[in-house]
């Protein structure tokens, strides 16, 4: 099963503290180092390692992060960092191709669980308690939580459209549209509650665009809009897709200059033009 959303989170190492250079301190693995390792594994070319070996390594790091989470329950800031690391590890597992459905589901479930846990921790800490850097964590965790179901919708759309199950394709697109109007909008509330800075919200914006692009790319792969059939179920599936894609574009402030959108913003033609603008935006990244 292919994971539609791929997020690589690379921990950029801070310069080593000069004072620590002169004071040998052994503190065991840190969340930072763990995330670095996760990204190093993800960055390896496929041919250097088999997928199973990568999954094994990532699961080892995931277990480390989970263990540290349990050890640091009385240190909210550190616990949050380890939760974030666990989320990153689980998410990285989902991005490895060739896994069993069960393994993928387990990792995806953990990704969501840890995103939920981190998000809850952030909201518990509150706007006055988190600093800018924790804001980055929180912004990311909330983004994963709020976008997780969008990925599922994309996956369902891909599966149904590939099977030419147009009713299910339509339902999946409608589900994607509901995610945009529901969970995506809810992120804005979370961010407001935590007073997240513009920078801290950037990951969500970028990840939401990624989801929209995945959705648009899936359409291209299954060639829904290039299907010449004029059957109603196909037309309905196309309309549902255009509506969902257009709403995502609107959420992301992606607009077209097409005159039809001035005169008939809710028309199919406007939605078609908007979807093309979304596609161009994705291709430009």
């Amino acid at each position: 099963m292919k994971h539609m959303r791929q997020i690589a989170i690379a921990g950029s190492g801070l310069a080593m503290l000069v004072a620590c250079e002169t004071t040998p301190v052994s503190t065991g693995p840190s969340p930072e180092a763990t995330v670095d390792q996760i990204n190093a594994i993800k960055a390896q070319p496929i041919e250097e390692d088999t997928s199973s070996a990568r999954v094994e390594k990532l699961n080892g790091l995931l277990a480390t992060a989970e263990s540290k989470m349990a050890e640091t329950v009385d240190k909210p800031a550190l616990n949050l960092a380890w939760t974030f690391a666990a989320m990153t590890a689980a998410d990285a597992v989902t991005a490895i191709p060739g896994q069993s459905t069960e393994a993928f589901s387990t990792a995806a479930g953990k990704t969501l669980n840890y995103a939920d846990a981190a998000s809850t921790a952030c909201l518990d800490i509150g706007a006055s308690g988190i600093d800018t850097r924790q804001g980055n964590f929180c912004g990311m965790a909330l983004a994963v939580r709020r976008l997780n179901d969008s990925g599922k919708a994309v996956q369902a759309f891909t599966t149904a459209s590939s099977a030419k199950d147009w009713a299910s394709s339509k339902a999946a697109s409608e589900g994607f549209g509901q995610q945009v109007s529901g969970n995506w909008a809810a992120y804005a509330d979370d961010a407001s509650q935590l007073a997240l800075s513009e920078q801290n919200q950037t990951p969500f914006t970028r990840m939401a665009l990624q989801e929209a692009c995945e959705y648009q790319a899936a359409q291209g792969q299954v060639n829904l809009l290039g299907n010449p059939s004029m059957e109603q179920d196909v037309r309905d599936a196309k309309d549902a897709y255009w509506s969902a894609a257009a709403s995502a574009a609107a959420f992301l402030d992606i607009e077209t200059d097409a005159p039809i959108c001035e005169s008939e913003p809710d028309s199919r033609s406007c939605k078609r033009e908007t979807e093309i603008k979304l596609a161009e935006t994705c291709q430009s990244l």
Binding site: A10, C213, P228
Partner: protein, 696 residues
């Protein structure tokens, strides 16, 4: 004991530092930065791209230059109205490919870079990766290195927060802006909506804000300390603003200048002000001046202020060099006030303080690890030398107390109680002397040696009990204590190891016996220092002379290498000492002079050299002692060692003949073995036989 106290302090400090480092690492880890890197989207489907190009209305306007494509490829394009155009999947593949290429050639990406800006997240996140956090961590570690200070500071930074005053400040600024507008109304009207109006308004706002902040710090806080902080922070900005008012700087240049001010004058001003008002700023939470935390915090602050004033820039302060420069200051501050770190009283506490002070002082000047090791070893040796005797004396006292307790338990007679009291006095006198003057460590380092001290006490006590006038009621005559201290003094002399413990007991018993019989002679009460007593002085002279001769005779080897002719040590030396003490009872005046003592010393060295030259066949240890006793009174009386070697050997020869004659009649008169043991009966032991008499 006390050494352990000092070591434990160092160990605790080390753990403290390690713990801090770990906490910093954890804290750092909890807010590490990350990049968000997104995987590339799947490769575009050519048919999908063709669909987008064909369906985008903008590409096919009435005057569009590429409209010919629709005509040229009409055979493979499906147009479904508002469902868009796309490539007919049933058209020949070759035609589909040609159409795709034509479309790609005609229509490039139309998304502007500006439109993508909001999605370019990676660079944005990187902004948070700066060195400020590293500096804070370094500062924290440095403070923790000094033990306590940073924790305090970081825990109280909220006191600098101004959140609660925001509304007041905004209101004040608004009022001032209104006044500013009122004053400059005509100018504002004249320049409004002209080029640069926005910048001028911003300039006015900034100027007004800074003016308020500096001139009315009471809006921030009622506390003088906070007001001072605000002034110190704002003043450089205001000066900068004034200086730049006439300059045409763009936003980047202005930002750069603000950053320079922030890291320079503002930071140093805040640091200085924070130090000046530290006790006010932190209210009652600032550590007491004399406390451990106060000392190191003050020391750190002082170092920080000095650094700030010297370098003038924050970036120059929190560098590895700052740690190196601040470290000695903090260490010296600790060294100057060890009592704040090691609390309590008693010898072990004093040692702990001394240990800490020495350690800190050493650390403050250390430059390299080998040097550190050497310094610590030297310090440890010195500390041991100075304090070992305290431990040993403590041990001796403990042994004495145990002995006294035993005696108390074993008898209930009135005399026993008096005896115990006497013993206490005597023992305390001796031990106090050891404590004050030092002692060869080997003397008290083993239980057998402690028993030796107790034996000496017993000897004194026995002599006292049998000497009228030495017991006063239930106490002892002060002379007894003087004698005891004197005995302790010559046992503690530098070359005491030339005489065995058993012989020292004989010497001590003899000296005590003489002292009891000859008041105020050997151990005068007039002497403030027991070492100034005649007996002590003589013993030291003789032992020193013996050591000198043995060293010379050893010819570079260890002094006591049992070379032929080496005589004056052990039993012989002890007998010589006793003979000298005998002589001192009748020649005290002469022996008290330098001339008398020097003449005696020269005579001893002459005899030693003669023994070495003649060999044991001509001058044995017994012969040496005989000659010494025979001529010593003349030497001391005249103050000159003028006895010829021939005369000495002649006297020895005569003595040998006389001894042979008398051997069947009596015990060797020069044999000191019959000196009574400490618990034995007193008796006369010295019956000299003159050479002349022997000859005759």
């Amino acid at each position: 004991m006390t050494g352990v106290t000092g070591v434990m302090f160092a160990v605790k400090a080390a753990f403290n530092i390690l713990e801090t480092a770990r906490n910093i690492a954890e804290a750092r880890a909890s807010r590490f930065d990350f990049d968000v890197v997104f995987a590339p989207l799947p490769e575009g489907n050519p048919l999908e791209l063709a669909r987008q190009h064909l369906s985008k209305s903008e590409n096919w306007s009435a005057s569009g230059q590429h409209n010919h494509i629709l005509t040229e490829y009409a055979d493979c394009i499906l147009d479904q109205g508002d469902f868009g155009r796309f490539i007919d999947p049933d058209s020949p593949d070759e035609r589909q490919t040609q159409l795709c290429l034509a479309l790609n050639s005609a229509f490039s990406a139309t998304v502007e870079a500006e439109e993508l800006k909001q999605f370019q997240s990676v660079d944005t996140l990187q902004r948070w990766v700066d060195n400020d956090a590293g500096r804070r961590d370094r500062a924290r570690l440095i403070l923790r290195m000094s033990g306590l200070a940073l924790e305090f500071l970081s825990a109280h930074t909220h006191r600098l927060g101004l959140r609660g005053q925001a509304q007041t400040i905004v209101g004040a600024i608004s009022d001032s802006i209104a006044a500013h507008i009122e004053r400059h109304k005509s100018t504002i009207i004249d320049t409004a909506f002209t080029q640069g109006a926005g910048a001028r308004i911003a300039e006015a706002l900034l100027t007004t804000s800074l003016e308020i902040a500096e001139t009315r710090p009471e809006l921030f806080s009622d506390k003088d300390s906070v007001q001072a902080l605000v002034r110190s922070a704002i003043s450089p900005f205001r000066e900068l603003n004034t200086a730049n008012a006439s300059l045409d700087l763009n936003a980047t240049q202005r930002l750069m200048k603000i950053r320079e001010v922030l890291r320079g004058p503002v930071a140093t001003g805040v640091i200085q002000t924070l130090y000046d008002h530290r006790r006010d700023v932190f209210d009652g939470d600032y550590p007491e001046r004399g406390s451990a935390a106060g000392i190191v915090t003050d020391a750190f602050f002082e170092g920080l202020v000095a650094e700030a004033n010297e370098h003038g820039r924050l970036a120059s302060i929190f560098t590895p060099g700052f740690f190196v420069r601040s470290y000695p200051t903090i260490m010296q501050a600790v060294a100057a006030s060890p009592e704040a770190f090691v609390r309590g009283s008693g010898q072990h506490i004093e040692l702990g303080r001394e240990f800490l002070a020495e350690l800190m002082q050493s650390l403050s000047v250390i430059e390299s690890r080998p040097q550190l090791a050497q310094q610590i070893v030297q310090m440890g040796m010195e500390m041991t030398r100075r304090h070992a005797r305290i431990y040993l004396v403590d041990e001796a006292r403990a042994a004495l107390n145990a002995e006294l307790a035993d005696r108390m338990a074993s008898t209930d007679s009135p005399w026993a109680l008096v005896q115990i009291k006497i013993l206490s006095h005597i023992a305390d006198g001796m031990i106090s002397h050891f404590e004050a003057k030092g002692l060869d460590m080997s003397i008290l380092s083993r239980p057998t040696e402690q028993a030796f001290i107790l034996d000496l006490v017993g000897i004194v006590a026995d002599q006292v009990s049998m000497t009228p006038g030495m017991i006063l009621g239930e106490d002892v005559n002060p002379e007894v204590v003087n004698i005891a201290q004197g005995v302790a003094a010559f046992i503690a002399t530098e070359h005491a190891n030339l005489i065995s413990r058993a012989d020292w007991q004989r010497v001590s018993a003899h000296a005590i016996s003489l002292a009891m019989s000859n008041p105020e002679t050997l151990f005068s009460l007039n002497s403030g220092d027991p070492e100034d007593a005649l007996a002590v002085s003589l013993v030291k002279q003789i032992l020193a002379s013996a050591q000198t001769s043995l060293t010379a005779q050893a010819d570079g080897a260890a002094p006591l290498n049992r070379r032929a002719g080496q005589i004056l040590f052990g039993r012989t030396l002890a007998d010589a000492v006793m003979a000298t003490l005998d002589l001192a009872t009748s020649h005290a005046r002469q022996l008290a002079t330098n001339a008398g003592q020097e003449a005696l010393t020269q005579f001893i060295e002459q005899l030693n050299q003669l023994a070495l030259d003649q060999g044991v066949e001509n001058l044995s240890s017994q012969d040496w002692l005989y000659a010494f006793r025979w001529f010593m009174s003349d030497v001391v009386s005249t103050g000159q060692s003028t006895i010829s070697n021939e005369m000495i050997l002649s006297a020895v020869d005569a003595m040998r003949k006389g001894r042979a004659t008398e051997s069947s009649k009596s015990t060797d008169p020069f044999d000191f073995d019959h000196i009574r043991t400490p618990m034995g009966d007193p008796e006369v032991y010295y019956q000299p036989v003159s050479p002349q008499g022997a000859e005759g």
